[in-house]
Symmetry: C2
Subunit: 321 residues, 2 copies
């Protein structure tokens, strides 16, 4: 039986994490952007891992090594920031093809260290080995004040659902590249920049639940609802799209909202917030948009678009379909 036949990546993870074990110091294990660990200090330790595989996650025809290095760091930092935390210590594992030029890796590390410096992260360890295709894995640890940690499970009915920045710009770049374009609005895909810890902390002080956009808004809202035991309604027309994303979708012949909902890799933040906290947040952080509301579970997870109401399906699944 193939993994796709049991329901794909998320179903597989549920199947194999049944025996993960328990530990009183593990405040949050599998099931959020990071694990949350109580190491006995004043805050919590946060840990996340992300793996990027050549030909699955990236093509070397499209990415410069410098862009790859920066992206590997940004995708992981985003997970720490989405918990309200501060990224600190990175551990890199690389499988490199035997003929990988040193100059390529110098450029890769230039991008990695550029992003690390932007976020105040130090490289604390790693493992380098060989493979038939390039595999890049980063484990990233950070810290967070105990009262500052925000989980996917923190949403309550009546809260607003908000997103930072704009969505769909990564998918827009990918679609342009797949369409044969080699310039234009590609940076959202090739050079994604996650939010800074200072921004995540500012939001965390007011938010209920928080998550980053890895798999698309539909998937992230679904994760929040699943972990919070709620439903949700997303107002499609409120989803913030950049002019570049709209232009790219028009050029390729796609619906730009599909990019935002199912594209992923925007590394913006999705959070829930009590209505009365929206204004106080806006006094310290402005770059967010209200796109919906948290509903009681029995109302389901829906999207309204004008007069229509539709079910909001899950995001990209590495083993689905």
């Amino acid at each position: 039986m193939k993994i796709s036949e049991i329901g794909g990546e998320f179903a597989f993870i549920k199947r194999v994490t049944g025996e993960a074990g328990t530990d009183p110091a593990l405040v949050q294990g599998v099931g959020d952007d990071c694990a949350v660990i109580d190491c006995g200090g004043s805050g919590y330790l946060l840990v996340t891992v992300d793996m990027m595989v050549e030909n699955t996650h990236f093509s070397l025809d499209w990415y410069s090594p410098c862009q790859l290095g920066a992206k590997l760091m940004e995708v992981n930092v985003s997970d720490i920031v989405s918990m309200g935390g501060t990224p600190r210590w990175a551990f890199i594992s690389l499988a490199l093809k035997p003929d990988t030029p040193v100059e390529f890796m110098d450029e890769f590390y230039r991008g990695l260290y550029w992003s690390a410096a932007r976020h105040g992260v130090v490289l604390a360890g790693g493992d380098t080995t060989r493979g038939r295709e390039m595999v890049l894995n980063l484990a990233l640890a950070g810290d967070v004040e105990k009262k500052g940690v925000r989980l996917r499970s923190g949403a309550r009915p009546g809260e607003l659902i908000c997103v930072t920045g704009t969505l769909g710009k990564s998918e827009a770049g990918l679609r342009l590249l797949m369409d044969g374009k080699r310039d234009g609005y590609l940076s959202g895909y090739l050079e994604p920049r996650c939010r800074l810890a200072s921004e995540g902390r500012a939001i965390a002080a007011y938010a209920g639940a928080m998550i980053d956009v890895s798999d698309g808004l539909a998937s992230e809202v679904g994760h929040i609802c699943e972990r919070s035991g709620t439903g949700a309604r997303v107002d499609r027309d409120a989803i913030p799209l950049s002019p570049g994303t709209r232009d790219a979708a028009r050029e390729v012949g796609d619906d730009p909202y599909d990019y935002a909902l199912y594209g992923g890799e925007d590394f913006e933040l999705v959070f829930s917030i009590a209505p009365e906290r929206r204004e106080p947040l806006a006094r310290v952080f402005t770059d967010f948009t209200v796109v919906g509301e948290v509903l009681p579970k029995e109302r389901g997870i829906i999207m309204t678009a004008g007069e229509r109401t539709i079910d909001l399906k899950g995001g990209y699944d590495h083993f689905g379909k």
Copy 2:
């Protein structure tokens, strides 16, 4: 320029970790079995990562999925134990071929969880994706009392060099497999078992430097000497070999000491200890052998074998030769 042309894996790591950054909380970064981090609690946090790549580190013709899962855990636990620490929280990243059967992965996780339970480790997070060959990465965090941490840099001239258990048994199994054997003394390679944290802690209470055997005794002694600023002498005939390792080497036509010195993956512990502490240690832990002594740096890193004295060369290098 290829990585092998600049001197292989270790030279590459030195080249790319020049800009790794600094952080006062990072007690030990790149250059030991684990990073050592001060998170503000009473002890230190230890973190290690190891990546295993199909066809580089393992062949699916030889390993059962259950053996693979257990080995992935054991190789990482070994790094924590070699610092005197206790393994706690594991984060797994998997790149799987799209046609990987679920039953294969069930068996893989059975092995992983078996080993995790043996060491008291919980699985706290991960990432699952696709690749053309199987890549298994584990990031493992643990803790250690501040005074209990043992680094590679802790050796002093005059100390004895000791190893736990026997060496060469992993290479013995690999050589038998490469020679076409499908049964016999294979468990050292297919089912390596690292030392328990209780053993590592018992040794750490008396040891100067400590390291685990990943790349072979010659390489590990070299690492201790490099980080401690010392030389060393290994007495070849004192290296403990199991009868099975001797038999396997005879069968294949090899020198069993080469397995111990350059084979690696035995996941035993190598440590230095002041001569007067040898007896006190032996009262709490007996399964070790004195194989040499720490020398002043100017004496070099040598091996004596009967009347002969030879230079001790480095261990296996993923990009060397």
